[in-house]
C-alpha cells in the first residue's frame, strides 16, 4: 500500500477510551450468542419444577442423602489440594529455572498429565490403586500383602488415592501457567535481592512470588474453578463412595432425569466458583497499578 496513511493528529477521546471495550466486544457477543439462552433456560429450570413451588428443587437437592457429604468432600478437596498443588508447582517451576541437565525432558513429563482427560486419568490411577493393581503388585514383590486402598471401609486411604490422582492430574495446569508467567521476569530483580542480603526464602517471598502475581492469580482462579468441576476421577476410583458436588449434577440430570434439580446443583457450583474467583480478584489486587488510566 504505497500511499502513506495520513492519520488524524489526535484520535478522538472516545476512540481511545472505547479501545478496551472494542477489543472485548467480540468475546462478549460470542459468549452471549452461544451460551446466553442456554444459561438463562438453565437458571429458569432451577426455579421451576414439575411439582411444588420454586424452592421445591432446592429442597429435593438438599434432601438427597449424599448432598452434604459431596459438599464436604468438594470443599475438603479444594482446601487441601490447591495449596499443596501451588507449593509443588512453584517448586517445579523454580527447579526448571535452575537449568538442571535434562530439564527439557523433565518439563515435558511434568506437563504431560495436562493432556490426559479426567476419564483416562481415573483409569490410570484405578489401575494403580485397585485391589489387584500395580501398587499392590509392587508391594507384593516386596512381600507386603495387598492393601484395599479404595474400599469404602478405609476412608482415609480412599481420600489419599483421590488426592494423589487429582494432584497428579491438575498440577500441570498450574505449572504451565506459572512457567509461562515466569518467562517474562528478568533476573535482575532476584540478583539485586541476593546482593542485598536476601536468603532464598526471602527472595521468594519478597521478589519472585510478588512478581509472578498475575500468573498466580490466573492459575488460582482457573484451578479453583476446575477443582469444583472435578468428579470423573473420584468416581472412577471410588464409585459413589467419595461423592463430589458436580457428581450430584450428573446424578440428578442423567441418573434421575430431573434437569430441574440438576440445574439447582449447577447453580450452587456456579455460585461457589464465582465467590472464590471474586475472592482471589480482590485478595490479589495489584497495588502498584494504582496509577490507573491507560498505561
Amino acid at each position: 500500500m504505497v500511499a502513506t496513511e495520513v492519520r488524524p493528529a489526535r484520535r478522538s477521546a472516545l476512540g481511545r477510551a472505547a479501545a478496551p471495550y472494542a477489543l472485548l466486544l467480540p468475546s462478549v457477543l460470542f459468549m452471549l450468542a452461544l451460551f446466553g439462552w442456554p444459561v438463562i433456560s438453565a437458571v429458569q429450570q432451577a426455579f421451576t419444577g414439575t411439582h411444588g413451588g420454586a424452592t421445591q428443587n432446592w429442597h429435593d437437592m438438599v434432601a438427597e442423602p449424599h448432598f452434604w457429604q459431596s459438599v464436604r468432600n468438594t470443599l475438603l478437596l479444594v482446601v487441601v489440594l490447591i495449596p499443596v498443588q501451588f507449593v509443588l508447582a512453584v517448586a517445579m517451576a523454580l527447579l526448571l529455572r535452575e537449568r538442571l541437565p535434562g530439564r527439557g525432558f523433565y518439563f515435558y513429563v511434568w506437563s504431560v498429565p495436562l493432556a490426559v482427560s479426567d476419564l483416562a486419568a481415573g483409569l490410570v490411577w484405578l489401575s494403580i490403586f485397585t485391589d489387584n493393581g500395580y501398587l499392590n503388585s509392587a508391594l507384593g514383590w516386596f512381600g507386603v500383602n495387598p492393601v484395599e486402598w479404595l474400599s469404602y471401609q478405609n476412608a482415609s486411604t480412599m481420600f489419599l488415592a483421590v488426592f494423589l490422582a487429582e494432584l497428579w492430574r491438575a498440577t500441570s495446569l498450574v505449572l504451565i501457567i506459572l512457567v509461562s508467567g515466569m518467562q517474562m521476569m528478568p533476573r535482575d530483580y532476584e540478583e539485586a535481592a541476593e546482593v542485598f542480603g536476601a536468603s532464598f526464602w526471602q527472595r521468594l517471598r519478597h521478589v519472585t512470588l510478588p512478581l509472578m502475581r498475575p500468573s498466580i492469580q490466573v492459575a488460582l482462579i482457573l484451578r479453583t474453578i476446575l477443582a469444583f468441576q472435578a468428579f470423573a476421577v473420584a468416581q472412577a476410583l471410588t464409585g459413589n463412595e467419595f461423592p463430589l458436588l458436580v457428581g450430584q449434577t450428573y446424578l440428578w440430570f442423567a441418573g434421575l432425569n430431573d434437569p430441574h434439580v440438576a440445574s439447582a446443583v449447577a447453580l450452587v457450583v456456579l455460585g461457589v466458583s464465582m465467590l472464590t474467583a471474586i475472592g482471589y480478584l480482590v485478595m490479589l489486587r495489584r497495588p502498584d497499578r494504582s496509577q490507573g488510566g491507560e498505561r
Partner: protein, 302 residues
C-alpha cells in the same frame, strides 16, 4: 566538539601505587562450592522424583494398554512388559468410527484453537493494557462459561443448534469448545501481555504502527509463551471434552464422544486401550508446543 580531558583538575593525590600487595593472600575457600554442588545434587534428585511421580502413571496405562487380557487379570501384575499383545489395541483402532472420529477431533481441536485465539487474544490484550471500569466484572462474566457444569446446558444447546441447522457437525462442536476455551485463552494471554513492557509497544507506535499493528508486530511475538500456554489448554480441553460433543453430534462424532461414552461399559482391557489411545495425540501436541512455551533455557546470558 573534541573530547579533551577537562582542564586537568589537580589530580586528587592518587594513592601511591597500592602497597596492599604486601599482605599474604588467604587460601581459596572451597566450602561454598561444595555446598553449592550438594544443593544441585539435591535439586537433581527432587527433579527425578517428580518426573517419576508424573511419568510412571502414563507408563502404566501404556503398559496396561499393550498387555494381554490374561496379564491384566493376573496378580501380582508385572511392572514391566511381560506379556505384551497388541490385538486389544488393534481391535480398538479398527472398530467403526475410531479413525474418522480421530480426524474430526483434530479438526475441532485446531478450529477451536483458531477461533478462541482470534476472539480471546485481543480481549486478553485489553485486560492487560487497560485498567477500565468493569474489568473484573468482565473476567467474572467469562468465568461463568467454565464454572457452570455443561451438562445442564445440554438440551438447550442441542435445540439451539438444531434450529440453526448446524447440528451434528464439526462446526457446532467447535463453537461450543471455543466458548469453553475462551476464559482460559483470555486470562492466560492477559497474564503474559501484562509482562510485555509497555515502552516497547509505545516504541512500535512511534514508528508508525497503529495500536493494532503494534499489538501484532511487537506484543504478539514477545508473548509467544503466553499464547502457546493458552493454545495447549484450548487444544487439550477440546480434545478431551466429551459431553458437548456427545450431545451435539450423531454421525460425525469426535473421538471422546465416540470412545469415552462407551469406555466405561467396555471390558477392562478395552478401557485401558481406549484411555491410552486418547492420551497419545495430546502427548504429541504438547511435545510440539513445548518449544514455544518457554524460552527459559534461552534466557539471555549477559
Amino acid at each position: 566538539m573534541s573530547i579533551a580531558p577537562p582542564a586537568p583538575p589537580a589530580p586528587p593525590a592518587p594513592p601511591e601505587a597500592p602497597a596492599v600487595a604486601a599482605e599474604p593472600l588467604p587460601p581459596v575457600d572451597r566450602r561454598p562450592l561444595r555446598r553449592r554442588r550438594m544443593i544441585r545434587a539435591g535439586q537433581q534428585v527432587a527433579a527425578i522424583a517428580l518426573t517419576l511421580f508424573m511419568g510412571v502413571p502414563v507408563y502404566l496405562i501404556a503398559l496396561a494398554a499393550f498387555s494381554s487380557r490374561a496379564e491384566l487379570n493376573r496378580f501380582p501384575k508385572a511392572l514391566w512388559p511381560r506379556d505384551v499383545s497388541i490385538d486389544t489395541m488393534r481391535t480398538f483402532l479398527h472398530s467403526t468410527g475410531v479413525v474418522p472420529s480421530f480426524i474430526n477431533s483434530v479438526e475441532v481441536g485446531i478450529a477451536t484453537l483458531i477461533v478462541s485465539l482470534l476472539i480471546g487474544a485481543p480481549a486478553g490484550y485489553a485486560i492487560a493494557r487497560y485498567a477500565f471500569r468493569g474489568r473484573d466484572g468482565y473476567q467474572l462474566f467469562l468465568l461463568t462459561a467454565r464454572s457452570l457444569p455443561v451438562v445442564v446446558l445440554s438440551i438447550p444447546l442441542a435445540t439451539m443448534f438444531l434450529r440453526l441447522n448446524i447440528y451434528d457437525s464439526v462446526l457446532a462442536v467447535t463453537l461450543v469448545h471455543a466458548v469453553l476455551a475462551l476464559p482460559t485463552t483470555v486470562l492466560i494471554t492477559a497474564s503474559v501481555f501484562v509482562a510485555v513492557p509497555a515502552e516497547l509497544e509505545e516504541a512500535g507506535m512511534v514508528f508508525g504502527c497503529t495500536r493494532f499493528g503494534a499489538f501484532r508486530k511487537v506484543v504478539l511475538p514477545l508473548s509467544v509463551p503466553g499464547v502457546a500456554a493458552s493454545s495447549i489448554f484450548t487444544f487439550v480441553l477440546s480434545w478431551n471434552e466429551v459431553l458437548a460433543a456427545a450431545i451435539l453430534t450423531l454421525n460425525n462424532r469426535t473421538l471422546p464422544a465416540q470412545v469415552l461414552t462407551t469406555l466405561p461399559y467396555s471390558p477392562v482391557e478395552f478401557r485401558f486401550a481406549g484411555g491410552f489411545a486418547m492420551v497419545v495425540p495430546s502427548l504429541v501436541f504438547i511435545l510440539l508446543m513445548r518449544r514455544y512455551l518457554t524460552n527459559m533455557w534461552g534466557a539471555t546470558i549477559r
